[in-house]
């Protein structure tokens, strides 16, 4: 150890000697770069800290109905009917489990519409064999653009199930087709690798019931199902994933949903309702023309367009996040799968940002233009670049003596120390108010991963974000992300 430290010190001294002449010249530039990187990261941290405080305030003050029986008692006879839209592309591995789980949901009025978006695997055949699908007709107003529908099918023994078989057109296209066929006043967009908790629909509909005139969209929490035991489509044993990569994502999801979305929801600037589990008022989405088919960030774009439309037309509205309803989703367990997902997310974020850039710092859109769009500019556009620049340049400047150790420490504080603090803060909030993970050991493991995600995982994500941005600039447009799926663990 001592020898290694000596070698490092020697190397540092030699490097400094090598750059002795250049270092003073580079010093002002190094300080400017350090200041810029620290400023961008600092603003991001301040925003995250505000989100954390807001989320804590909401969670402590709210009157959540914890027991499902009390929830049923209070809201059971006023719930709103809901159509569950499940777009599926090559999901033969999980589709049967997912549909079975949805049909078993504890909710009195719902229909499940699975949209097979021209899958090249056995997705449709499996559904046909399992549910004995028969051709059916369902009247609908063809008011949204979508690829041709090859057929609509019903399951004689499951009147709640409708399967649409259509030509491939992408997730947004499939959702548009499902949206037209839906008959209920609310619809939920879902992923075909996700499971809903039994009472999640009653919980997510609660804001619509309480404020029916204004609430247009509600997002629920998405959690990783990897490692959990699943029986008849319901999570029966909550466990952490075995894969470390999935564990890192568990922590990432806790931070993103509990802190980010709850905080923004409180300020009325929530711009993301997860594609895996979001409920919308159908009429409002039809009024804005449904999903846009030219972006892979269709969920983010839809919500932002909804905000924009309401603000431009002066309609009183709310887009809300509620932490209790949970959708369990499979997160990628391979670096390749995760990379594909993150590249798609980044492209989607940038596509949406470019479509709606006029909202940025535009007083017409109030807080939304300044806070939400400003935050998106920082996180999606400037943040990854600035942070990566910091990782490359600042240690170099410090090594050659062009940057003071104080500045280097400030950079480390901004990226690592505050990063770990925010992750731990989100985890503490989860533990104090939701207590989803039942064992102390799980909490300890998550604490370790809250620290670890800031060393390596965060940096790799940054690189993927930059790669995603590059793909976007080169005009790459994707459709469905190809992420390997596996059957749920029984």
């Amino acid at each position: 150890m001592e020898a290694a430290l000596d070698a490092l010190a020697r190397g540092l001294t030699e490097a400094r000697l090598g750059f002795e002449a250049v270092a003073p010249l580079l010093q002002p530039w190094a300080t400017v770069v350090a200041l810029s990187v620290i400023a961008v990261s600092g603003v991001q941290n301040v925003i995250y800290a505000v989100q954390l405080i807001l989320a804590a305030a909401v969670l402590v003050r709210r009157t959540a109905v914890v027991e499902a029986s009390a929830l049923d008692w209070l809201y059971g006879d006023v719930i709103l009917p809901i159509s569950l839209l499940v777009p599926a592309y090559n999901e033969a591995e999980t589709i049967e489990d997912v549909v079975e789980a949805l049909l078993a949901l504890d909710y009195p009025l719902f229909e499940v519409i699975v949209i097979n978006d021209g899958s090249t695997d056995a997705t449709f055949e499996r559904l046909r064999a399992r549910y004995g699908l028969q051709p059916s007709t369902r009247a609908y107003a063809d008011a949204l653009p979508h690829a041709p529908v090859r057929g609509v099918y019903a399951a004689p023994e499951h009147p709640r199930l409708i399967v649409v078989d259509k030509v491939n057109g992408g997730k947004a296209d499939a959702l548009n087709a499902g949206l037209l066929l839906a008959r209920m006043p609310l619809f939920a967009s879902m992923d075909s690798d996700s499971l809903l908790e039994g009472d999640s629909l009653t919980r997510i509909v609660q804001p619509f019931v309480e404020d029916p005139d204004r609430v247009l969209a509600v997002g629920g929490t998405v959690r990783a199902v990897n490692g959990c035991e699943v029986e008849r489509g319901q999570v029966t044993q909550l466990r952490l994933p075995r894969s470390n990569l999935a564990r890192l994502q568990v922590m990432e999801y806790i931070r993103a949903f509990l802190m980010g979305r709850l905080g923004w929801s409180q300020l009325g600037v929530l711009t993301t309702v997860a594609g895996a589990f979001g409920v919308f008022r159908r009429s409002a989405i039809l009024a804005i023309g449904g999903y846009r088919r030219d972006t892979v960030g269709e969920d983010y774009e839809l919500v932002l367009r909804l905000h924009r439309h309401c603000r431009e037309t002066g309609r009183a509205y709310r887009v809300v996040f509620v932490p209790e309803p949970v959708c369990w989703t499979q997160v990628p367990e391979t670096w390749r799968g995760l990379r594909a997902q993150r590249l798609r997310w980044q492209r989607g974020a940038l596509e949406t940002f470019v479509i709606h850039w006029r909202m940025l710092f535009n007083p017409r859109y109030g807080r939304l233009g300044f806070l939400a769009m400003g935050h998106n500019l920082l996180v999606d556009v400037l943040g990854p670049l600035a942070e990566t620049l910091g990782y490359v340049l600042l240690p170099f400047f410090w090594a050659i003596g062009a940057l003071d150790t104080d500045w280097m420490l400030a950079f480390v504080a901004m990226i690592f120390t505050f990063g770990v603090f925010l992750s731990l803060g989100a985890l503490a909030l989860e533990e104090m108010e939701l207590k989803r993970y039942p064992r102390a050991r799980q909490l300890m493991v998550l604490t370790a991963f809250a620290v670890l995600e800031n060393f390596g995982y965060r940096q790799i994500n940054n690189i993927w974000r930059i790669q995603g941005s590059w793909q976007f600039l080169r005009g790459k447009r994707g459709q469905w992300g190809v992420i390997p799926r596996s059957a749920f663990r029984r």
């Binding site: 009247a139 404020d211 104080d406």
Partner: protein, 340 residues
């Protein structure tokens, strides 16, 4: 100390605080695990005692604690085996100390849980606790839960008083409020009909329409007919739907008039009502509505024609051959309904 260095030190302080908090939470979780183990052990023991009590060989020391409520239970059971509220009240009388104490001390979510429990105990003092909660609770959810519990007992204080106590103005919580007020006893119905005629606020009128529509009482039809001419479109739509739901032909003229309403929402509900009432007199109007500019009105009109059956359905089949919007919707409804 330089600014960058102070940033570093501040971040370390934050980090230490977060680690400290997590350490406390983990320790609490470990303690909770131990306590839970003990509680489970106690629960097992409790179950064992109940089991022995049922076999009448309870240990002497537990007599006072367990036998008194059981005697009261068996007495109430002997008096009237079907008297569930009476039995529940006996149970409540032995636990009310705990419930009242926890109700006062608990966080809002716990109070809500107790209100749910209290809904099963129609004792006078429970009503008092719930009425006080209707007045005092800050959160409208809790006030509504208290009102709902009272409604379940048939002890809601009347429309105007309930509305005043609940203080839920505007559109928020109206749906829950309506479900609460559906529990108003039948003898309060004249008050609701008066409110429907006199209330200035459209939300109150909408509540009244809903309460009357759900009552199943056909004597409320004249009030609903008057409401079908209301200035507020939601009240009109609600009234027409309620007439359809009650299925009384006495409201048919109001339904016929509503088929020509300027608001598509009202026309839609009128189509539904015409179908439910099998209003043959509405056939010309329904056929006209197959050409309405709103798809939902066209669709509901076609559904109503199919529902009326006979000549109406035959006419719908003829229309289905036409190459226009009416033909398309007629065709779609026929395909869908015939298949079903």
């Amino acid at each position: 100390m330089s600014a960058p260095l102070s940033l570093w030190l501040i971040s370390l302080a934050f980090l230490a605080a977060a680690f400290g908090l997590l350490a406390v939470l983990i320790a609490l979780r470990l303690l909770e695990g131990i306590r839970l183990g003990r509680r489970l052990h106690l629960a097992d023991r409790h179950r064992y005692l109940i089991h022995r009590a049922m076999r009448a060989d309870l240990p002497r020391g537990h007599l006072r604690l367990h036998v008194a409520p059981m005697r009261a239970f068996s007495k109430a059971l002997a008096q009237d085996p079907g008297d569930t509220p009476g039995l529940l009240n006996v149970a409540y009388s032995y636990t009310r100390g705990d419930i009242a104490r926890n109700f006062r001390r608990g966080r809002p979510r716990r109070r809500l849980r107790y209100m749910h429990v209290m809904a099963h105990f129609p004792a006078r003092n429970v009503r008092g606790v719930l009425r006080r909660a209707m007045v005092r609770e800050r959160d409208p959810r809790l006030r509504l839960a208290a009102a709902k519990a009272l409604g379940d007992m048939g002890a809601l204080p009347g429309l105007h008083r309930t509305l005043r106590l609940l203080r839920t103005e505007g559109a928020a919580f109206q749906r829950v409020l309506r479900s609460v007020l559906r529990r108003l006893p039948a003898n309060r119905r004249p008050e609701v009909m008066r409110a429907l005629a006199e209330a200035r606020c459209p939300h109150v009128r909408l509540i009244c329409v809903d309460v009357l529509g759900q009552s199943g009482d056909r004597s409320v039809i004249p009030s609903l007919i008057r409401a079908s001419r209301d200035a507020d479109l939601e009240v009109r739509a609600g009234a027409v739907r309620a007439i359809g739901r009650l299925g009384d032909l006495g409201g048919s003229r109001a339904v016929l008039a509503a088929l020509a309403d300027p608001a598509w929402e009202v026309r839609c509900q009128a189509c539904f009502a015409a179908g439910r009432l099998r209003l043959v007199r509405a056939l010309p109007a329904l056929e006209m509505l197959l050409h309405d500019r709103n798809w939902w009105v066209r669709f509901r009109a076609a559904e109503a024609l199919y529902g009326i059956g006979g000549d109406a359905r035959a006419g719908l089949r003829d229309l289905a051959a036409q190459p226009n919007a009416a033909g398309r919707v007629a065709q779609a409804v026929l395909l869908e309904r015939d298949a079903a």
